[in-house]
Amino acid sequence: MNAILAQSHETTDPLKLLHRPGVRLVSIFGSLDEDGSRRVHYAVDIDNRQYRVVSIAGEGPIASATPITPAAAWYERELHDQYGVAIEGHPDLRPLLFHENWAEGVHPMTAGFEKVPAGTRTPYRFLKVEGEGVCEVPVGPVHAGIIEPGHFRFSIVGDTVLNLELRHFYTHKGTEKLFENMPIADGCLIAESVSGDNCFAHAVAYSQAMENSFGVAVPARGRALRLIGLELERMMAHIADVGALCGDVGFTVPAAYTARIKESLLLASTRFFRTRFWRGVAVPGGVTIDLAAVDAAELQRIVAEAARDFAELAKIILETPSVQNRFESTGVLSRDVARDLAVVGPVTRASGIKIDVRRDHPYGRYREFATEIAHHSQGDVLARARIRIDETAISARLIADTLREMPTGAIRTSISADASAEGFSAVESPRGELFYWVRVRNGRIARCHIKSPSFQNWPALPLAMPGNIIADFPLINKSFNLSYSGCDR
């Protein structure tokens, strides 16, 4: 079961735990004890069945987990930036969150931090690939399309990519810090603004973390409405992703058609829930908006029509030789790399790893049945497109099943606002495992950590690039479709 197992002051050695087979790193993050001293938490998933959070003191130097699992590398860099925790044995502690216009030695999550002093830091050192005919191509942070900012540095020979290095966190907003001292109800507003296209998944993950912390159960109808919102969000994300992939190979008619299908779902949300992206719907304790009984059939019809149109379109897309040619064997992410970097979501399921929070750690309404999971094993752009196509159909079925047997009654319950507690929750967002860990002291948020699937998956993208031509990068990047804001927070 999702959560309930929060044992935050356990004595287990986290590095020993990470050595064990079947243990997948979920997140590493810091927090402050009441006296202001630092603590480091390791969240893991054991055998795809049980989450566990283990913590150790963070005042003295700690041993790096990166030599054991490369999936820890970015988490430890973030921990080092946010909390200034000394980490021994980490191969690369270059700043992750902070660029040159941040003074040296700033650690915003430590006790007593007030503001970033004026100052700069030494320029970032990119890795250097040397050899005959190697050129460097820097791209970004501002890109050509309507997409988020990030920097990519390619080392190429001719057209072929030898190495890709990412430099992100242009959209870093100090989000985790903003939660501090907020009333728990207001935390939702921030959670919804972490990654706008997955805002409902964030709001649900945050709310569930609070519900788990305080032992509050959401009424059955609230759980059903959450499932509908989560699966609609997944459908919209996946449909848009497939459209964007078509756009990238110049197949613009289906791209426009997917945009139309997605908009039909947004308009349905407006019509029945008065919000396009389900912002403001999930709150700790349930949901704020009910679905009128008379509207259920019409919503079901629109979702079914969108799913049918998309399935037909997807068939055409996959049967088009020029699409096959561009998608097939492009940007392969091997199963081993996906496992080593603890990659999550549709990307890992396209590389043959069958994990999905909905099935492995069911929450809310997903506890009442076994969620069917799509998976493919080729790890290329085609497999990542197919995963999204298959999952869209599954989501539509889940919505239909839920609408058919809508529980009646309350949609929301109250949650005590002045107590202290801590806990966590995970949700399968459209991009994969989204994990929130919260601590509340006297009704105020003391700490909220967000592990976003994009933070986890970005480091895997460069490993799908070598050997591909640089012109295929936009397509490969799109097939991962990671959120910059979700990663950078």
Binding site: L97, F98, H99, N101, W102, P108, V116, P141, V142, A144, G145, I146, I147, E148, P149, F169, Y170, T171, H172, K173, G174, T175, K177, L178, L189, I190, S193, S195, G196, D197, C199, A240, V253, P254, A256, Y257, A259, R260, K262, E263, L266, L267, S269, T270, R274, T275, R276, F277, R279, G280, T288, D309, E312, L313, I316, T320, S483, Y484, S485, G486
Partner: protein, 264 residues
């Protein structure tokens, strides 16, 4: 085969939304509006207390209490609507999309419920005038200055067949060097401030800058974070503001057209 499918679908369901219907449409944005007849001092106080931002406040002027609604700060959380006992409703139409900063502020006299209308807020919204802009060309460069990507999702949506931005002769371009207008989202993070300045400098004059979303207008939910350097108008000059979190495609389209109209 693709053409058969698309032809059949396009002929069976016409989706293009006419311009008259689009202008100022705010449905689905969850932005608040006020029903002056139901406004009381008690309700105004309750709604202002419920507001998690500084969007909704009470001000004393000449011995009278004014309810001040600043759309720049509104994150569309809907709490004032929940607390407002009918006096606060979800806006159907919003005239201020594309307004100047002061044009985003509305005021009501709490005792009488009357809206205090400033001359600046008055905007010409006739579809006829907007139509007169049709056929001109406008090139927009979108700049994400640290948004959550919600605003991007809606900006992408204005190019879909329902809203069809291109019917107004408006295109998104890949480089600021080709742009007449910068459409900027996000609170301007510390890490993006320099890129925003450089993008502005690279855009040839005359140029228009439109701040998008609560983040673009005021920093929104991220206002005051140690990791932001904005809001946008603290970094570069801004010609118009489109509030919302995120603004809907109709609000974006209305806002872009209004900024254009005001400046042409």
């Amino acid at each position: 085969m693709i053409f058969d499918t698309v032809k059949q679908s396009l002929s069976s369901r016409r989706v293009l939304i006419p311009v008259e219907q689009l202008l100022m449409d705010a449905q689905g944005s969850r932005m608040p509006d006020v029903q002056p007849s139901l406004l009381t001092a008690e309700i105004a106080r309750r709604a202002a207390d419920a507001c998690p931002t500084t969007a909704l406040t009470l001000e004393e002027a000449d011995g009278r209490t004014q309810l001040v609604l600043n759309y720049a700060d509104c994150v569309a959380c809907g709490r004032c609507i929940e607390a407002g006992a009918g006096a606060f409703v979800a806006a159907q139409k919003l005239a201020c999309c594309g307004a100047t900063k002061s044009g985003l502020v509305r005021r009501w006299d709490v005792a009488s419920g009357a809206e205090i209308v400033s001359s600046e807020r008055e905007m010409e919204n006739s579809a006829r005038e907007i139509r007169s802009l049709l056929g001109r060309a406008l090139n927009i460069r979108e700049v994400d200055a640290g948004s959550c990507n919600g605003c991007e999702a809606e900006i992408v949506a204005i190019t879909n067949p329902y809203y069809d931005l291109e019917r107004f002769g408006i295109h998104f371009v890949a480089s600021p060097k080709h742009a007449d207008m910068l459409l900027v989202t996000g609170p301007v993070t510390r890490n993006m401030a320099e890129a925003v300045r450089q993008t502005y400098a690279a855009t040839p004059s005359p140029k228009l800058v439109v701040a998008v979303g609560a983040c673009g207008c005021s920093g929104g939910i991220f206002a005051g974070s140690h990791a932001t350097a904005g809001p946008l108008d603290a970094i570069i000059p801004v010609d118009g503001y489109i509030p919302g979190c995120p603004p809907t495609p109709a609000m974006l389209l209305s806002g872009i057209l209004h900024v254009l109209q005001r400046r042409s």
